[in-house]
C-alpha cells in the first residue's frame, strides 16, 4: 500500500503548507500508488484533498518529506515531472471572449512535451484530434472556449490532459459540472485509462458515477490520511462518510 518499489507515485512523510499559513495543510502523509490504480480521494471540505493533488503535481512547496512521480522528485525536477502528469484543475473561469479555440487549448496540453523552440508536429495534432473526439467535442473544436458551458469547458480541460498522454492522471472534481450521461461517459473513459496502466487519482464528492472496478479509497481529514483501502465502487460513498464521521 505504501512505499512499494513499483509505485509510480510515492509520498514519504510529506508535510505541505502554503506561504503564510499558520498550520501545515498536509501532515505526515505517506502514500504509494501503483500503475493502473483508480484512486478516489474523499473527505470533508478543507481536508487537504486538492492540496494533496497539487503536492503530487509539484505545484506547492513540500516543507518536509519527499514526493516522487514517475521517478522524478517533484521539488527538484517539477517541470520534468509535470510533463508526465495530467492534472485537471477544479476552478477555472474563462472569459467569454478568451481568444482561444477548443483545439488550441487542447494542443496546449502538449506544449511541455514538445519542448522549447519546436513547433507541434502532425503527431501532436493527431493526439489533439483523438482527445477531442474521445470527449465528444469534435463539433465545437473551432469554437472559442469561453463561449462553452461550464461542463463543456471541463471536458476541454480533460481532453487537454488526455492529449498530453500522461503517465499519471490527477482530476479535481471532474464530475462537478457534468450532466449524468456525460459523467458516465467520462467515468468509462477514466476506467479505460486506468486499465491501460495509467493511475487515475480523482478528488470527488460524487460517488455515483464511479467505474465498475477495484477502487482505492483514500479519505483525508485535517490534512492527514485516515483511511486507505481497496473497495468496490458501490461502497466508496459509505466508506468516505463513515471514516469522516468516525474521525
Amino acid at each position: 500500500m505504501t512505499g512499494g518499489s513499483d509505485d509510480i507515485i510515492q509520498l514519504e512523510k510529506v508535510w505541505t503548507t502554503y506561504e503564510g499559513a499558520d498550520l501545515p495543510v498536509i501532515k505526515d502523509v505517506t502514500l504509494g500508488i501503483k500503475p493502473g490504480e483508480f484512486v478516489v480521494i474523499g473527505g470533508p471540505n478543507g481536508a487537504g484533498k486538492t492540496t494533496l493533488l497539487e503536492t503530487i503535481a509539484g505545484l506547492l512547496p513540500v516543507v518536509d518529506g519527499t514526493v516522487q512521480v514517475c521517478g522524478h522528485d517533484v521539488m527538484k525536477d517539477g517541470c520534468a515531472a509535470r510533463k508526465k502528469i495530467g492534472y485537471v484543475i477544479q476552478n477555472f473561469d474563462f472569459h467569454p471572449y478568451t481568444p482561444f479555440t477548443v483545439e488550441e487549448v487542447v494542443l496546449m496540453g502538449r506544449f511541455g512535451k514538445i519542448g522549447w523552440l519546436k513547433r507541434h508536429s502532425s503527431r501532436d495534432m493527431d493526439k489533439v484530434t483523438s482527445a477531442i473526439h474521445q470527449l465528444g467535442l469534435t463539433l465545437m473544436q473551432k469554437n472559442q472556449i469561453g463561449k462553452l458551458s461550464g461542463g463543456q469547458q471541463q471536458k476541454v480541460l480533460i481532453a487537454q490532459n488526455l492529449a498530453k498522454e500522461p503517465e499519471v492522471l490527477l482530476l479535481d472534481e471532474p464530475f462537478s459540472n457534468l450532466d449524468m450521461i456525460t459523467r458516465e461517459e467520462v467515468s468509462r473513459l477514466l476506467c479505460q485509462i486506468a486499465d491501460a496502466g495509467i493511475p487515475v487519482l480523482i478528488v470527488s464528492h460524487a460517488f455515483d458515477a464511479l467505474p465498475d472496478r477495484d477502487i482505492r479509497v483514500v479519505v483525508m481529514q485535517h490534512g492527514e490520511i485516515i483511511l486507505n483501502q481497496l473497495s468496490h465502487p458501490s461502497e466508496v460513498g459509505n466508506l468516505v462518510r463513515t471514516a469522516s464521521v468516525a474521525a
Binding site: 477555472f92 471572449y97 481568444p99 487549448v105 496546449m108
Partner: protein
Amino acid sequence: MLEFLIPNNVMCHAVEAMLFASLGCALLSVLITQMNISSIGFTMSHAAFAGGSVGAFFGYAVLPSAVIVSILTAFLMGPLSDRTRMHTDTTLGVLFGTMMAVAIFFIALMQGTGKGFDASSLLYGNVISLYREEIYALAVMSALIIIFLVIFYKEITAIVFHKRLAEIAGIRVKPVYYGILFLISVMVALSIPIVGGLLLYVWLVTPAAIAYQFCNTMRNMFIMAPVIAVIVSVAGAIWGIMYSLPVGPLTAVIFSGLFIGAVAVSPKRKVVFHNH
C-alpha cells in the same frame, strides 16, 4: 532609414520613431491586455520617470538611467508578486506609487539644490527631439520583440490563456513571463522620450483593445494591433508636424476615437435573435 521616402529630415525622424515605438508597444499591448496587467504601463513609465530623475540628480544621462530603473523594476515585479501572493496588478499599484514618490523626491531635491531638472521631456515627450541612436534602439527593440514572440509563441499563448495550466503542462513559465516583463520595461523606457510617460499608456493598451473588438484569436490580434498602431502613429506624426500640433496627444486622441468607433461597430456586441 526612411529618408528615401521622406526627404524632410524632421518628418522622417518623427515617422521612424513613431513607427518603431508603436510597432513594439502594440505587440506588447496584446500581451498586456490579455494577461490583465495593464497597470504595467503606468508602473513602468513611472519607473522610467524615477530612473531619469535619479540619474539626473547624480549627473548621469537621463535615458540610460530610465532604462536601467525600468529593467530593475521589471525584475522586481515578478518575484514580488510571487512572494506577496497578491495579484500582479496590486503589486504594480504599490510599485507605481513608490516610483512616483522616488521621482518627485529627487526632482524636489534638485529644485532645492538649484540643479534644476526639466521633467516635461519624460512626462510629455517630444518626437522630434530624438537622436538617431535612440531610433535605432527602438528599431532593434521592435525586432527583438518580434523574434521573442516567434520563438516562444506557444509558451506565450499558454501563459496568456492560463498561467497555472501552462505550468501544469510542463512549461517553464517564469523565464518566459519575466522575459515579457523585461521587454515591456525596455520598450517603455525607450518610448518615453517620444510620447512621454503620461501618454505611453495609450500605446500599451489601446491598439490591442481596438483589435480585440474584431479578433477572436491571439494570432489575429498580433497582426491587427500593430497594423492599427503603426497607421495611427505614423498618421499622427505626419499630421502633427504638418499642422504644428503636439504629436503625442494628437496620436492618443486618434487612438481613443478609433477605440470608441471600434466598440460601436464591434461584432462582439451583436445580438443574434431567432424568432421561430
